[in-house]
Every structure is written in structure tokens, then in C-alpha cells.
């Protein structure tokens, strides 16, 4: 899966675009997020709460659609694009 990171998340990771491999038979967004955090441990305190949940103010998109915390169980495959970013601040 392909991750795109924006704003301070890209700065913390040191990369804007990341490809991750997931070993699971039926991979979910949660697996892809774990793979991302394994590859970039510095992201974990920024992305997860103390209880291990996705930070509520972060946006998590799959193929351009907002899925957020409830969407972590959504299946993903290799061609999917995932994105993680803080609240938008254009204009």
C-alpha cells in the first residue's frame, strides 16, 4: 500500500510518500497503519493516543475518501492509496 503524509506528519517521518508491505492474508487499514508506524516509529506518539487509538483530530483517507478510526477495519490491497494528515488549513 502507498501512504501519503502531509504537513508536520511528513516532517516527523522525514518522507512524504511511503510504500509498506503487509503480511496479513486479508489486510486492513489498521494493518497498513501498523506497518507505517513500524517503519517510522517517530510517528507513533503523533498518530496514536495514549490508549493506542488514532488521534481524533487526524484525517485518514483511503483512495481520497475519509474513513478515520471507524474505517480501520476496512480491507486494503496493494493498489490502494492511504493518506494521513492534520486538520486542513488552506486559504
Amino acid at each position: 500500500m502507498h501512504w501519503k503524509l502531509f504537513a508536520d506528519l511528513a516532517e516527523v517521518a522525514g518522507d512524504r510518500e511511503v510504500d509498506v508491505d503487509v503480511e496479513a492474508d486479508a489486510p486492513t487499514v489498521d494493518d497498513a497503519l501498523s506497518a507505517l508506524l513500524d517503519a517510522y516509529p517517530a510517528l507513533e506518539p503523533r498518530v496514536l493516543t495514549d490508549a493506542g487509538k488514532l488521534e481524533p483530530h487526524l484525517n485518514l483517507l483511503k483512495n481520497g475518501e475519509q474513513i478515520g478510526e471507524p474505517g480501520l477495519s476496512t480491507p486494503v490491497d496493494e493498489g490502494d492509496e492511504l493518506a494521513l494528515f492534520p486538520p486542513v488549513s488552506g486559504g
Binding site: 502531509f6 494528515f85 492534520p86 486542513v88 488552506g90 486559504g91
Partner: protein
């Protein structure tokens, strides 16, 4: 309008070569801007008020000292399809570098060659239409006026967002904002907003343009233009358009102040 800055030795002749190729190969109008200061008009230095001459082939030449490079681009953007600027670097405009010239880290570099002689004009011509276009408020207003619904439109409302140096006199000065966007998804979200607004009674055209990269204080960031039947419809749509852009479109802003840099969502 597609823009290309060319800097380094012989940048003016490189710009002129590209202009010749563009005028013979492309439909659009081409402006060449000499920022090298090497060729004063009539040998008498640049006139304060600006000067225009037309040669025997109907081509005009202008010179003046009353506009910055970006102000000049604003005035060219309505009428020209291409602008080639020789001898100027800008932190946001696509640039060809000839030889060893320092450019700001954010400058989008299209091509670097050791000398002008090694620049292949065909490579540049092949890429120039893919570069980020230079769009001004007037560009969008012209597009709105070209609407097939223009006969029924009595109002154009526009919004321009710009970089505010200070919100309060005591604030640390904001020197620059730097924007990045989620390419593709940002355009989808803007398109959804456009569709919602143009579905309203009397709203005929809604146009957005948001610049990315570093933008200095006082410079324009975002434009929203609405063509509508009546003024109330235009005012409401332009307000809702910018409000929804700020809420929904994945664009991110980093602020650089005299006190330091920070992402806006961290504030």
C-alpha cells in the same frame, strides 16, 4: 498562462530561442520579459513610467520600472498563454538554470544545464504545458465572463485571500506562509463544492484557484470567483465557497514569523 524563468549566463538569448520556437509551434501568445537589465530601452535607461514601442512586424516591446516580476505577470496573465522571464528567480515559479546560479530551495527547477548552448529547447517545449500555470484573479474573472450563461448574469463576486503580516499590531510579523496540497484529492473536493454551489438557483459559474509553495506577506493566496444572476446569490456563493474550501480541501499551511515557524493546526 504558463511561465518559465530562465537564469544564468545568456539567459536572454535562451529565452528568445524558446520564444521563437513557441510562436512557431503553439497557438498561444508569448510574452518575453527581460529582467537582466542588460538592454535598456533606447540606451537611455528604463523610463519611470514605462515605455511601449511597436516594430514593423507589429510586435511590441515594453519597458518600465513600476512593477515587480509578479505584478508584471498579473498584468500579462489575462492576455498571454506563455511568459518567459529572463534573468529573474522566484521562489515559486518554474525555472531553468544555466550554469551555477543560486536559487531559493523552494524554486521548482525544470532543467539545469552548464551553459545556454547545452539547453535543448525541445525538452523545455515538451514540458512547458505541464508546469503549474500562473493564474491571477483576472484570469478567473475572464473565464467566468466567458460562460455560456453570461447573458443571464448580472453579478460577479470575488474573494481574494492574502498573507496577513499581523492580526494585531503587537504580533510577531508573518513573513511567509508555505502551502502544500494533496494533489488530486484537493481538486476532487473543490469540484464537489463547485457542483453544489452551481446547483443553486442563479449561480452559473464558480471558480477556485489556490496557490501552493511559499507565499510572502502581502501576496495573494487564493481566489474564488462566482458568476450569478443577482448580487445576493453571488455574495452567498462566494462566502460559502471560501468557507467550504477552508474546511474541506486538503491544503496545509506553515507559517514563518519573526518568532519562528509552525504549522497552523498546531496553534
Amino acid at each position: 498562462m504558463q511561465t518559465l524563468c530562465i537564469v544564468g549566463e545568456d539567459c536572454l538569448s535562451a529565452a528568445e530561442t524558446l520564444t521563437d520556437r513557441l510562436t512557431t509551434r503553439r497557438e498561444g501568445r508569448v510574452a518575453t520579459v527581460d529582467c537582466t537589465g542588460s538592454r535598456p530601452v533606447d540606451g537611455a535607461g528604463l523610463p519611470d513610467e514605462g515605455e511601449f514601442r511597436v516594430d514593423g512586424d507589429g510586435r511590441w516591446v515594453g519597458a518600465g520600472s513600476d512593477r515587480s516580476a509578479t505584478e508584471l505577470l498579473d498584468s500579462l496573465a489575462r492576455r498571454y498563454d506563455y511568459a518567459l522571464l529572463a534573468g529573474v528567480v522566484h521562489h515559486r515559479l518554474p525555472t531553468v538554470v544555466l550554469g551555477d546560479v543560486e536559487t531559493p530551495p523552494s524554486t521548482p527547477i525544470v532543467e539545469t544545464t552548464p551553459t545556454a548552448a547545452e539547453l535543448d529547447p525541445e525538452t523545455i517545449l515538451g514540458r512547458i504545458d505541464e508546469l503549474d500555470p500562473y493564474i491571477s484573479l483576472e484570469t478567473l474573472v475572464d473565464r467566468a465572463k466567458a460562460s455560456p450563461m453570461a447573458d443571464r448574469a448580472g453579478a460577479i463576486a470575488t474573494f481574494t485571500g492574502r498573507v496577513r503580516a499581523k492580526d494585531d499590531p503587537a504580533d510577531a510579523r508573518t513573513e511567509r506562509l508555505t502551502f502544500e496540497k494533496y494533489e488530486g484529492v484537493a481538486e476532487q473536493r473543490l469540484d464537489a463544492i463547485r457542483q453544489d454551489l452551481t446547483a443553486r438557483e442563479g449561480v452559473f459559474e464558480v471558480l477556485f484557484h489556490h496557490r501552493v509553495g511559499p507565499i510572502d506577506d502581502g501576496e495573494d493566496i487564493v481566489f474564488v470567483v462566482v458568476l450569478a444572476g443577482h448580487r445576493r446569490q453571488a455574495f452567498r456563493a462566494v462566502e460559502d465557497g471560501i468557507d467550504r474550501l477552508k474546511d474541506e480541501v486538503p491544503i496545509f499551511k506553515k507559517e514563518s514569523t519573526t518568532d519562528g515557524d509552525f504549522w497552523l493546526h498546531e496553534r
